[in-house]
């Protein structure tokens, strides 16, 4: 069971880190949206860019990384699903 516990701890850590990035990209940026609109990225005010595109791209990256990392974790801890 020891190996299982480690696997689960690892999964929880990964989940927590990704959720933290998700939280910052969404709620922290939106909270300071009025202050952040002074910057310009690709011609957009920064806060508009984040809400319309940036956050979405970050979400996709997070989900992709999760799928990739979890698959590797499954192999590392020998947890792959049998047929």
């Amino acid at each position: 069971m020891h190996k299982h516990q480690q696997y689960w701890q690892h999964t929880l850590r990964l989940t927590a880190v990704l959720l933290a990035i998700w939280f910052v990209a969404t709620f922290l940026v939106a909270w300071f949206a009025r202050e952040l609109q002074a910057f310009t990225v690709f011609g957009f005010p920064f806060s508009f860019f984040m809400a319309a595109q940036g956050a979405l791209l970050i979400y996709i990256a997070l989900v992709a990384y999760y799928a990739y990392r979890m698959d590797k974790l499954d192999v590392e801890y020998d947890m792959q699903e049998g047929d």
């Binding site: 969404t26 939106a30 979405l56 997070l62 698959d71 792959q80 699903e81």
Partner: protein
């Protein structure tokens, strides 16, 4: 299933859908040629909607099945890529396809709450639910609650909540189906509803989840092609760049520059805008006075006001030289005069709201939480964040979406398929803000300042169809269009984009078919969820656990019919507005399901008592708040901390979490069997027999 069989299946699917996509494009090209040859628009519209609906029904017939696993979870062998497309079609509803760009056009930055909320929720699905639900591997969401928390009660509450939020959501979809069919074919709204439902039924009735899955993949292709083509074209027209998502930053700067000019009364254009705004301000004073008199005088005032109008009309008619349009205006006012105090209050309140908006300066598109003072801005920010959170958590709790992750072949595939889902969904959500800005640019530069005698053709065409979608009135009689003189209904933006971009009618028909695909695919998924929950959880698990599979399937199909007819009936009553219904479904799902589902996986100590208390209290809080604050119900209690009723889940969610936690801690820990089940769900390699024998 062997790996080689599955990979053969995947390559076969890829071939089929590649052929199908080619076929769709060929069909559009063929219709474009027909249009050039002079076939009338109406025929093209019928052909387009008819062929696509028949196509969906055809896929349904081809995928008919009477196998339980096929019927409930498409045989659990849907490849990640295709499940991604199916989730995307399941997910994107009529509100996303038709309404979103309009909402963004009207509310600018503040509308982006929907863009973030409807995509960011998939992070929660990916990290907290999808892989674990796939490992659990049963048939419905109440299944999970029933097995994790034990006993009939959590399952029963789950059934109630699943039906409540799916049904609220399905009404909005059926409404969308009726709207699109009636607008593009000229059929009656009610007939439109039943034609659309017919195709849904053929599909899910014969093949259940299996048919719905393969139809949804087909619907996604149509939906995304229909969304992207007109926007790309519009982008090329205004910027020369075929990638609208990249190009519209530059267009947004120009829109902002235009906003500044129009808001500045020292420029000639700004001065004319100011003139129109003054007129609206005067009108607002008149209507506010009427409203105040109504509150004081009640029904007697209405009678008096009507008599006064009739009298004025008579006087006008008696005079020698009167402009005929003055008489017509008065006659119109009398004809639409409110019948009772309630309708008068609603009409005049709406009028004052509109006039208030029209008499204030333009709100900058890119400015977040615009408001006159700090309190107003703070209030908007609070509601923005609350809405984003409700939409996100609701995403991770709507049963028709979560159920789709039961259909993949493994945990690994489930994780991958969330990625594909989010990618396919984002393709539309990242384009919608671009469309809103491009359309705004068109209106601000080409329509504003043009002459009333030569309006762009799409303006007059849509104004003739529906005044609430598009109307222009020369308020200050200068013969030139000012921004404040234009009224645009949100739904117009997507529907009229092909014409704004100057594309042939065939693209308009394609957009209609795309909107129909969006509404049908979501309605399909929702109805199947309701029917499966009733037949599997209520009939099979709670009433007759020994029922043979054939009877279970028959019951499921009969229930599907009943649900569809009932949904059509409720829709024909036209309750509430679509966006509120959709928002309500998210808040309800977020409050009822999310705490019990997430804690069920991540907290072994969560038990039956906790789940029951958490789900009931979360759901009840959310429902009560909606009931007392949403104007439709007529209670109109003060808002809590200024939060709008659409975000009622912001109160339901924490109460739900607290309920699960306290309820669990104050009762005995769950049995070793339940803890074993949680382990089974957490570790991909753990075998079923390790906990099933102890169950």
């Amino acid at each position: 299933m062997g790996a080689s069989v599955q990979s053969q299946f995947v390559s076969q699917l890829k071939r089929y859908y590649a052929l199908y996509t080619g076929g769709v494009i060929g069909f559009v090209v063929m219709l474009a040629i027909l249009e050039q040859m002079g076939v009338p628009n109406k025929v093209l519209g019928y052909l387009f909607l008819g062929v696509t609906v028949l196509l969906y029904a055809g896929i349904g017939i081809l995928s008919r099945t009477s196998d339980v696993t096929e019927y409930y979870v498409a045989g659990r062998r849907v490849p990640a890529l295709f499940n991604g497309m199916a989730v995307a079609a399941d997910w994107m509803s009529a509100a996303s396809f038709i309404g979103l760009a309009g909402t963004l056009y009207v509310s600018g930055y503040d509308g982006l709450a929907f863009v973030m909320g409807w995509t960011g929720g998939f992070c929660l699905v990916a990290f907290l639910l999808a892989p674990y639900l796939r490992k659990f591997g049963q048939y419905t969401i109440p299944d999970f609650l029933g097995m994790r928390y034990g006993g009939g009660l959590p399952r029963a509450i789950g059934v109630f909540a699943a039906i409540l939020c799916s049904f609220t959501y399905v009404i909005a979809q059926v409404y969308g189906v009726g709207l699109i069919v009636s607008r593009f074919t000229g059929l009656d709204f009610g007939v439109g509803v039943f034609v659309g439902l017919g195709s849904i039924l053929v599909c899910s009735f014969l093949g259940g989840m299996r048919a719905v899955t393969w139809t949804q993949v087909a619907q996604y292709v149509i939906l995304i092609v229909a969304y992207l083509i007109p926007v790309i074209w519009l982008s090329v027209k205004h910027t020369g760049n075929p990638v609208p998502q990249v190009a519209y930053g530059y267009v947004l700067q120009q829109v902002t520059a235009r906003e500044n000019v129009l808001n500045d009364a020292s420029t000639p254009e700004g001065a004319r805008e100011a003139e129109v705004r003054t007129l609206f301000k005067q009108q607002m004073k008149i209507d506010s006075a009427k409203l105040a008199a109504l509150e004081a005088g009640g029904a007697a005032y209405l009678v008096q006001e009507r008599a006064r109008l009739t009298h004025t009309l008579q006087q006008l008619k008696d005079k020698a030289h009167v402009a005929p349009q003055d008489i017509a205006a008065l006659q119109n006012e009398l004809a639409t005069f409110p019948k009772d105090v309630n309708s008068a209050r609603n009409t005049w309140r709406a009028a004052v709201e509109t006039e208030k908006a029209k008499s204030s300066p333009i709100i900058a598109h890119a400015e977040p939480f615009a408001g006159s003072d700090e309190t107003a801005r703070d209030n908007k920010r609070k509601n923005f964040l609350a809405l984003v959170l409700c939409l996100m958590v609701g995403t991770a709790a709507l049963p028709h979406i979560l159920m789709r992750f039961y259909t993949t072949s493994s945990v690994k595939e489930a994780r991958l398929s969330v990625f594909w889902s989010l990618l396919f969904i984002s393709l539309l959500y990242i384009t919608a803000p671009a469309l809103a800005v491009l359309a705004k640019y068109d209106v601000y530069t080409l329509l504003v300042g043009s002459s009333f005698s030569e309006l762009p053709s799409w303006v007059s065409a849509w104004a003739a169809v529906d005044k609430t979608l598009m109307s222009v009135t020369d308020m200050n009689k200068d013969g030139i269009v000012q921004l404040a003189e234009i009224t645009i209904g949100g739904d117009l933006i997507m529907l009229a984009t092909p014409e704004i971009a100057g594309l042939p009618y065939v693209v308009t028909a394609l957009v209609a078919a795309g909107g129909l695909a969006a509404a049908l695919s979501t309605a399909d998924g929702l109805m199947l969820t309701i029917a499966n929950t009733l037949s599997h959880d209520v009939y099979y698990k709670m009433i007759d656990p020994r029922a043979p599979t054939t009877r279970r399937l028959i019951i499921s199909k009969v229930l599907l019919l009943v649900v569809a007819v009932f949904a059509a009936y409720i829709t024909s009553l036209k309750p509430g507005d679509i966006l509120f219904l959709v928002g309500a479904a998210f808040s309800l799902a977020a409050s009822a399901f999310f705490p019990a589902l997430a804690l069920g996986i991540f907290w072994k100590r969560a038990n039956k008592m906790g789940a029951v208390i958490g789900m009931v209290s979360g759901l009840a809080t959310c429902m009560v708040y909606m009931f007392i604050t949403y104007p439709f119900f007529g209670v109109n209690a003060p808002l809590w901390w200024g939060i709008n009723p659409i975000s009622a889940g912001i109160f339901g969610m924490p109460i739900g979490f607290i309920g699960v936690i306290l309820g669990s801690l104050f009762s005995a820990p769950p049995s070793p069997e339940t803890r074993a089940m949680v382990d089974y769900v957490r570790y991909p390699n753990m075998r079923l027999d390790s906990f099933i024998e102890k169950r």
